[in-house]
Symmetry: C2
Subunit: 332 residues, 2 copies
């Protein structure tokens, strides 16, 4: 873990977004304005959802990529608000799919208002994301965002399809996280540099950077779901296990555990046997599966860092590098 006063390279975690902190405030206002409704009940729900906006990872990536390539313009602000609103919509629907009770230390919408309201609120958010996107002068972003959400939905459908699948391969696991997570972080970085007028090779490199960051982020997220601390993550954990979603540590353990443990873990994934989270974690530790998973995440972090050589030196680039390294140490 990273203590509160430790620094990554020369940047403290709280300062990771410093080069774009001012623009992130604008983004919050754009989102608020876009979501405003004449109906108080709708506004109340949107206010509650706005509290899920914690890390602002996706708009920060977009703005830092823009800043690293030149000036942050109005299109960047709008697009940063779009990607965050898309992300908020996926959180609200994910909480329905996972039956999650807590998010960022707040009760989820489905927990307080029921699945029906949460489904509709997610629809409201995604609709407003596209609406905001359609305010731009050209169609490129709208096409890119919609293609990305197509991919995200496909990834989520694949994940659901493979729930309780004790034969899930690493290949399919990576397909799923590429679609459900890496596609959106890739788009954030790609749009950031493209709307800053960067050359095609830089646009391609930063799309790859965003995808690698997304993979690393999701892999660590999946580990935290197993070994994290709810008081730090601020959300319900153990949900992958509860829903039979085999993530990388589980897949590695199934391939490497002795027959008796493998058999029990397989039955657990299929939903045919019940074991406590600690028991599962003990098995994962015994096969070195948590360490293996962090090693894989580390490789994706390295891939991401290599892409940053396409950017010239700047405080924004330093922030992107520090954010990338921080993924391996985050506890939330």
């Amino acid at each position: 873990m990273l203590a509160r006063n430790m620094t990554i390279g020369s940047i403290a975690p709280a300062d990771l977004y410093a080069p774009v902190a001012h623009y992130l405030k604008d983004v919050e206002h754009i989102i608020e304005d876009e979501l405003f409704s004449d109906h108080p009940a709708v506004n109340e729900l949107c206010t509650r959802v706005s509290r899920y906006r914690g890390k602002m990872l996706r708009p920060a990536l977009l703005l830092l990529c823009a800043k690293a390539c030149g000036r942050v313009n109005d299109a960047h602000r709008t697009l940063a608000a779009v990607v965050e609103t898309v992300h908020l919509a996926t959180l609200v629907h994910d909480d329905v799919l996972d039956d999650a009770a807590v998010r960022r230390k707040q009760p989820t919408i489905n927990a307080t208002d029921g699945n029906v309201t949460a489904v509709l609120l997610g629809d409201y958010l995604i609709s407003h994301a596209y609406h905001l996107c359609s305010s731009l002068d050209d169609q490129y972003a709208a096409r890119t965002i919609a293609a990305t959400t197509n991919t995200v939905c496909e990834g989520e459908l694949m994940e659901i399809h493979h729930r309780y699948d004790d034969r899930l391969s690493e290949g399919i696991y990576f397909d799923i996280i590429e679609n459900k997570t890496a596609a959106l972080t890739s788009t954030c970085c790609l749009l950031g540099v493209r709307y800053a007028g960067a050359d095609e090779d830089v646009v391609k490199a930063m799309g790859d950077f965003g995808a690698a960051i997304g993979r690393a982020f999701q892999i660590v997220d999946d580990v935290l779901d197993l070994v994290g601390d709810e008081s730090r993550t601020g959300k319900t954990l153990g949900l992958d296990l509860a829903h039979g979603s085999a993530t990388l540590p589980i897949i590695h353990c199934l391939a490497n555990a002795p027959v008796d443990i493998g058999g029990r873990l397989r039955a657990f994934v299929r939903g045919e046997a019940a074991f406590g989270r600690q028991r599962i974690v003990d098995w994962l530790e015994s096969t070195g599966s948590i360490e293996h998973t962090f090693q894989v995440a580390r490789e994706h972090v390295q891939t991401a860092l290599q892409q940053l050589t396409y950017l010239s030196d700047s405080p924004a680039r330093d922030s992107l590098a520090a954010m990338t390294e921080f993924i391996l140490r985050r506890q939330f």
Copy 2:
């Protein structure tokens, strides 16, 4: 009821869409191509959803409006596919919200694959609708469609907010149906004539036509939910009653019934008393509430027909008029 061989004016129901039947085939192909996935499980779901495409009311409205103003072009075909895909998405999510088991005589996605898959499939459909829309050259349609889906979601959120509300006013009921239904049918007609190059006054008139048709359609839909025949409608009925959604006949009955019936109906809407559907219908008949509701629908049909005077005489205009009149006689 309308017998199978009866005609409306000079047009048999099966021939209502005749002037655009050829284009509707194109629209089906565009939707199939857009929804195609590399993942067989996703394709299977989309194939099942395609069977919900029955009336094709929204694309037919768009294409007939286009045809009535000139030539049907590629943008119209794309937009007709967009509005139908938006509609399909709302059907899939509505079935989750209503816990509906049957749609167009097929089991619903939530009934066979669970709410989780149905939520994601709805998200997949809406994402593809926006993606298809972003393929057009200009942003006007994307802005209009996204503004419309904002409105639809708001209408649905309002409806949920007023479930079990025995004080729901006619004013709020009309607000809800204006948002959740009339907004989309209005947009269909408006986009049809606008992308045919019609003058602003015609665009405005046909937007009004579509809104009036949508209101009439929803009012009759709400009556069918009470007095319809499941073997004809092909979907689960009585859902408004089951979820405490007071529709126009109920609101009228509550305002006009003697105290004893009013009190029992009020308790029923609040979910505090249980009565069979036939008992409720008897009360509605006793206050003339079904007839009153049809009278209101008739007024909206008249409003719609008046707008058609903005179009010059053509087979497409005749079809629009016949479709409008058919709303009052439909059994499905």
